[in-house]
Symmetry: D2
Subunit: 248 residues, 4 copies
Amino acid sequence: MKDKICVTVWNEYRHEKRNPKIAEIYPGGIHGAIAKYLSTLPGIEVRTATLDEPEHGLTDEVLKNTDVLIWWGHLHHGEVHDQVINKVHRRILDGMGLIALHSSLGSKIFRRLMGTSCGARWREMDERQRVWVVSPGHPIVEGLGAYFEIPHCEMYGEFFDIPQPDELVFISWYQGGEVFRSGCCFQRGRGKIFYFQPGHETLPIYHQKEVLLVIGNAARWAAPISGLDKVERVSHVPEPIERIIVEE
Amino acid sequence: MKDKICVTVWNEYRHEKRNPKIAEIYPGGIHGAIAKYLSTLPGIEVRTATLDEPEHGLTDEVLKNTDVLIWWGHLHHGEVHDQVINKVHRRILDGMGLIALHSSLGSKIFRRLMGTSCGARWREMDERQRVWVVSPGHPIVEGLGAYFEIPHCEMYGEFFDIPQPDELVFISWYQGGEVFRSGCCFQRGRGKIFYFQPGHETLPIYHQKEVLLVIGNAARWAAPISGLDKVERVSHVPEPIERIIVEE
Amino acid sequence: MKDKICVTVWNEYRHEKRNPKIAEIYPGGIHGAIAKYLSTLPGIEVRTATLDEPEHGLTDEVLKNTDVLIWWGHLHHGEVHDQVINKVHRRILDGMGLIALHSSLGSKIFRRLMGTSCGARWREMDERQRVWVVSPGHPIVEGLGAYFEIPHCEMYGEFFDIPQPDELVFISWYQGGEVFRSGCCFQRGRGKIFYFQPGHETLPIYHQKEVLLVIGNAARWAAPISGLDKVERVSHVPEPIERIIVEE
Amino acid sequence: MKDKICVTVWNEYRHEKRNPKIAEIYPGGIHGAIAKYLSTLPGIEVRTATLDEPEHGLTDEVLKNTDVLIWWGHLHHGEVHDQVINKVHRRILDGMGLIALHSSLGSKIFRRLMGTSCGARWREMDERQRVWVVSPGHPIVEGLGAYFEIPHCEMYGEFFDIPQPDELVFISWYQGGEVFRSGCCFQRGRGKIFYFQPGHETLPIYHQKEVLLVIGNAARWAAPISGLDKVERVSHVPEPIERIIVEE
């Protein structure tokens, strides 16, 4: 594992600028709240990038120096340019980790990686959510107990149209009667992907310590290994065989 | 399960028309050889569709009446229109099965569903391939022994850039020294997908009985169940909760 | 697939004989209620077996003629003889299906197959349970909607100490705040195993139509394929190699 | 993750003492060769334990202080006492990692954890083995290329009767025509398990640098996280519900 993990936190960063209630909860943006926490962790180096920057802040230089990309998309998925998505996608297959937060289930990059609609039920009633650990030995749950609670949440419910996760880490219970696979690990190419449901722009969920703990753990888990740089497509022949003539 | 499974076998159907050697092996096209076999099986109804037909032969009417789509794509993946792919993709998520054969790992529809590059090593030396069963209780291997051999093949080798299959059914051994995950089951949305490596346009692999047996088994396995027609996105609230006012 | 599936429903069949309240709900035993339903399904032939019969009703003859074994164990797991468990275990690895119901998570056979403690939280408060479908294309959910409800249940909650299921089909929501992986598919050897949480001896859950529907679907899904009879342990050498002398 | 990982390398340590050819290759025992390598790695502390020590060297004190147990069993699986296996099993479910090497697929502890026969084909002809990476982003392959070769090996071939691995990392090719899932990750309880096929007592495989690299990587991967100490079996009720009276 690398000594230092370079994390880029990406955010649309629109509603924080337009809606005073959201700005009050996340004065530096959702990306700012997450970056601030991550910068307190040893071995992690953080930067941020946002939709309205040139190339959405995801230049070749930034991507090349990003080990783990954290993504918050919500209302403006369609505005992210396909050429940026193509590069991010390629970089993930080459090893960069991705942490997709909450409404980012609808983002271009997450849907591209999953191959499915990624649709789910949803409801805003500020109800209670209880996030249960179903993989207690997993690095992403280090430091948690059997479950943690989010006092007020936005509900996402099953059926969640994703491929079966390679590792299912969290299942949420909602006061209104639904369940949700809320912590899902996927491997795609050489990259590790973690989808994490908790979060909402009008609720202080990204200030809650368990939620931040999970995001930090996930950043370490998703960091790439060193190794193969590219998959070779045409190979030498490892074993000595002669070309066999097939009689027509 | 449905009483009758409607299978559509799709083929580019180009090289059979241009190359006399290929035409000799597959006079009715690769799709024809597969369709001919399937039509001998009870409970299966077969039709075919090809690239050069209007809408590539995959009209709304055809898709609506297809339970399982078998796909042979090779040199003309890029010519398949995105609007057709979009419909096929949607229909698979809604329950239609897909069997992707050999070079169809590079097809738009398979790559869309996988979310990865689907790249692999490859080599044409007409070498020997031995296909080992690694899931001996799976419906797709019904009727097979511990392995079967393909006397002359085109080699595809690891690393195969796909998501880890939900069920891995076959692993191939090649004379030249490679291995390949050659029978891979995936569930995406409500649809079942089977990737099957054996096949080549200049070799009579789709006349070999074990290969046809597997394709027939896979067609039965991939057939949709009846049930949910659409995933509901916004739900009623199953449990009586009141909206909670969060004080800012 | 076989034309006729032979199902044996096994039950401790003790509390139904001792407790009048249980006898009132299940006058013919829990096994009787399930067998009665299954016998109405085409292509399924049912018999029953119970703890207090010789060899617990699971003689070599019965096992040999059983395609799918349904198991209800509760308070007397320890009384099932190891030699019977050994035979059942061997038969499952050779292809017999197993459906383990509710408290059978603690049975010798289920724990033997899982390799883990199979422990879980539990509570009896006759609360409401809502069983959500998380694999809507799976044969086991055929005929169900997005979820079904059990008005009064015994709660089992996470962490459920099982290996990650090969396919996760149901997740339950409980009124008291827990979640549970309630429908879990496993492949072990050539055998298919389905764990299904719903059920309780003092509640009429095995008279509920959705629960019975699932058990019937699972019986069909778990039925063995024909094929390999035994795994060969020592093989001939498929490829011509000569023994290489390694110089010490 | 813990700062220091305590690894115990366990070996039958019988054939090295009886067979001069084996002693020449592994003068300090197979455990000695592996322990020597691991002791060169930062952050790993190694001890060894063998069959003929009291309690097979696996006392409560040793187990309590072991993060990862590496196991070499071969001809004397049956001599390992069940009470020791029970403790090792419990400790793995509580979080200790296990690396099972080569013939340890037949060991009591591995079979207990898998729940299957763990049988496979095998052959001794000192043939060539090529170990292909099929999960190139996995921490266990860090430092490897697309494959590595073992010049002379003992062959183990499919069908390998294990549960489908949670993550499949290596597939081997053999000169004699077989394939084998040679690097398999499993999660059981809170413990991580890695089965690694390469090895043989009469061949210097545990002196080969790629093999040792993998064992070292696996030790780091399998180390437990801190966290939940025991799974609670009976819970308080997280949500306020009243006991519902069901009218009989």
